[in-house]
């Protein structure tokens, strides 16, 4: 039922027309930097999974010896991870929101709600939209993603209410959920999936599962169309198995060999044009191609890929040793772009920054990641890996993935595990 192939005997037109698709170590002390006077200053730009963790760990573990400022325009941060569960009705919206008060109150972090609009690497200062500037000894950039203009012809940010991306959690997520719930009976939800690399590799497909979960209850004759430029995707076997068990006949995916990589959209008429043929849909969730959040490019630390190359052992930019880049924006090697990865990288970065600025112990870096996804009620799956720093990249050393055919009991335990993980990791970022 996934990527169509010639043997299936079906194509997208059949699917939409008939709705009968066969859905099938050694510790070392590094020398402290020689600083003019006063406490060394760290500015962290971006208060998501990477930035909040880095700010918290630098402040917490230096016990006040480092002055930490966090620049984040939003007063409340809504996590992308678990935002699909909100769409599916498994979480309240408020439960994925977090504020920055505890970082200020518990760790003395100076939280500045403003946009960083310029980086002067020679003067080592960050310019703010509000007019001020912040000097730094080390700068940590964790800006997440921005979308590549023109990657989906017909779509730009001015159209994000007609065709939401909902790939930066918040009002967009609420909008998409409202649109799904307002679909006419038997209507079509379409997702234009992003090309690699992108934030949260299983994210679009967990979203499909959650949309299907909602539609199965409220709108069981509705259809889901995925237009996907990729040959394959994360946890594909697990998702496809789950879709067949929970939502038979509802989901169809058009892969690149049927034009999934040749898509344009017409927001005014809510049409999706695949390989030259226009189809009217009722909700169109466009997740465009991605690149590092804009401030990384402003700082001049991105390369032609649009991402920011980093030194794996410290997450330092390869372009500027006074700047570290974390999370989705970093070009680091094998780790997926995920909140878990950003949190893991942030701890390594925080240790390196403290070591450089105040001479605290630096241990060999360790990285890990696990991504849980929910396919249906109590049907959780996960994929994870551990990583090490090599000179070239962050390299995968070991990994695991859930298997098809696991017991309902194990799937439920996996889902419950994800609830525990969410509580723990958000505490590790924002408490």
């Amino acid at each position: 039922m996934s990527k169509r192939n010639g043997e299936s005997g079906l194509n997208r037109r059949h699917f939409l027309a008939t709705a009968a698709a066969a859905t099938t170590a050694v510790s070392a002390l590094s020398a402290p930097a020689v600083l003019a006077q006063g406490r060394p200053r760290v500015v962290v730009v971006g208060g998501g999974a990477g930035g909040a963790t880095a700010a918290r760990y630098i402040a917490k573990d230096s016990k006040g010896a480092v002055d930490v400022t966090l620049v984040e325009p939003s007063r409340a941060y809504y996590t992308c991870f678990f935002s699909n569960l909100y769409i599916g009705g498994f979480r309240e919206f408020a439960s994925i929101g977090h504020s920055y008060g505890a970082l200020a109150a518990n760790h003395g972090i100076n939280v500045v709600h403003d946009w960083a609009v310029s980086i002067d690497r020679d003067a080592r200062s960050v310019g703010l939209a509000g007019g001020g500037s912040l000097a730094y000894d080390r700068l940590v950039l964790s800006p997440g993603i921005d979308f590549r203009e023109g990657s989906v012809p017909g779509w730009d940010l001015s159209q994000q209410n007609r065709m939401p991306h909902a790939y930066k959690a918040g009002s967009q997520t609420q909008l998409l959920k409202a649109q799904i719930e307002a679909m006419p009976q038997g209507g079509v939800y379409c997702m234009v999936a992003p090309p690699n690399p992108f934030r949260c590799p299983p994210g679009p497909y967990e979203r499909i599962s959650m949309v299907a979960h909602v539609l199965k209850q409220a709108n069981p004759t509705a259809k889901i169309l995925i237009v996907d430029p990729k040959e394959k995707f994360s946890k594909q076997g697990l998702f496809e198995d789950g879709w067949q068990r929970h939502y038979p006949g509802m989901i169809e995916r058009v892969g690149p060999d049927f034009g999934g990589d040749k898509v344009e959209v017409r927001p005014d008429s809510l049409e999706v044009v695949v390989d030259g043929e226009a189809t009217k849909v009722d909700v169109c969730n466009v997740i465009p191609a991605q690149q590092a959040g804009r401030v990384a490019a402003l700082a001049g630390v991105t390369d032609e890929s649009g991402w920011a190359p980093v030194v794996p052992h410290t997450m330092e930019s390869r372009a500027d040793a006074n700047i570290h880049v974390l999370g989705d924006a970093a070009l680091q090697g094998d780790m997926p772009k995920s909140g878990f990865s950003a949190n893991s990288q942030a701890k390594v970065c925080a240790m390196a920054v403290r070591g450089a600025l105040i001479g605290s112990s630096v241990f060999p870096p360790r990285f890990s990641n696990t991504c849980w996804s929910l396919i249906g009620t109590d049907d959780g799956v996960k994929v994870g890996a551990s990583y090490e720093a090599t000179d070239e990249k962050i390299a995968k050393t070991d990994g695991f993935i859930s298997k098809t055919g696991e017991s309902a009991e194990l799937r439920k335990a996996t889902y419950e595990e994800s609830l525990g993980w969410y509580a723990a990791i958000t505490g590790d970022m924002f408490s």
């Binding site: 241990f363 696990t370 994870g384 695991f400 419950e416 525990g420 723990a424 590790d428």
Partner: protein, 263 residues
């Protein structure tokens, strides 16, 4: 004998299953009110129950014995020892490090009786939210009754207690006992713990992932080596433990043994 609280424990599950129609559980107040009565009745009934259900209760305790000891010589391990638990105020043993939540529950009047233990075993975090006890709950009332009947035999005056069984030994996982003698570096452990606390909260909240704060060194070391050697099965934990050296496991054990509860 425990009607109010047994009903409340059942009510907890029913509330979950059927939404808003059931009354909220009677909770602590009703359980506390019946506490003294239950203790008195237990003394009468436990002798008979001890013989009838002892075998089944002992077998059910297998779900508890990785953390708890009971019997002659029982010591606190991951959980407190359970001799004389009936009639004891929750969180009241001075030499065991309880979660803040359990201490607060005891200070608020929670006393362990057959009724309150039944409610706790049915759904631990429903009775004591943020308890560190990592146990999803024992669904069957008959099982809980059998387990509590057996456990009741370890409360009150007795002179012939069977010896307490160990929570874990290196031998059962084929480990060299010398791994337990390695002294861990807590500072290194604090760094390594960064990987653990992405999933394991420090404040005792248990939602699908157990608390690992305050564990005895031996239990911690044996558990991680059991994952590392594949004797305990969990993909994340096998991966995490798989790349930890003996010294790193000892360092983590030292760190979490000393760690305070905090979010």
């Amino acid at each position: 004998m425990t009607a109010p609280c047994t009903a409340s424990a059942n009510g907890l599950r029913s509330t979950k299953a059927s939404g808003r129609h059931r009354p909220r559980p009677a909770g602590l107040a009703a359980c506390l009110a019946s506490g003294l009565l239950s203790v008195a009745l237990l003394m009468v009934l436990s002798a008979a129950a001890w013989s009838a259900d002892a075998g089944r209760g002992k077998a059910l305790f297998d779900q508890c014995k990785r953390c708890h000891q009971v019997g002659d010589g029982a010591e606190h391990r991951i959980g407190p020892q359970l001799n004389d638990v009936f009639g004891r105020a929750a969180g009241s043993l001075a030499d065991y490090r309880y979660s803040q939540a359990m201490k607060a529950a005891g200070a608020g009047g929670l006393v362990w009786t057959e009724a309150t233990l039944d409610a706790f075993l049915s759904d631990p975090v429903a009775l004591v939210p943020h308890s560190r006890m990592s146990f999803a709950g024992m669904a069957e009332a008959d099982d809980r009754a059998a387990l509590l009947a057996w456990l009741g035999g370890f409360s009150g005056p007795r002179s012939d207690l069977p010896p307490a069984e160990p929570t874990a030994t290196p031998e059962e996982f084929g480990l060299d006992p010398r791994i337990l003698a390695i002294e861990g570096d807590p500072e290194y452990g604090a760094y390594l713990a960064g990987e653990c606390i992405t999933c394991h909260r420090m404040d005792g909240t248990v939602k699908g992932i157990p608390s690992i704060t305050g564990w005895p060194l031996d239990d911690f070391v044996i558990a991680l080596h059991a994952y590392k050697g594949g004797k305990r099965v969990h993909p994340v934990m096998q991966m995490v433990a798989g790349r930890l050296s003996d010294e790193e496991i000892a360092a983590l054990a030292a760190h979490f043994h000393r760690a305070e509860d905090s979010p």
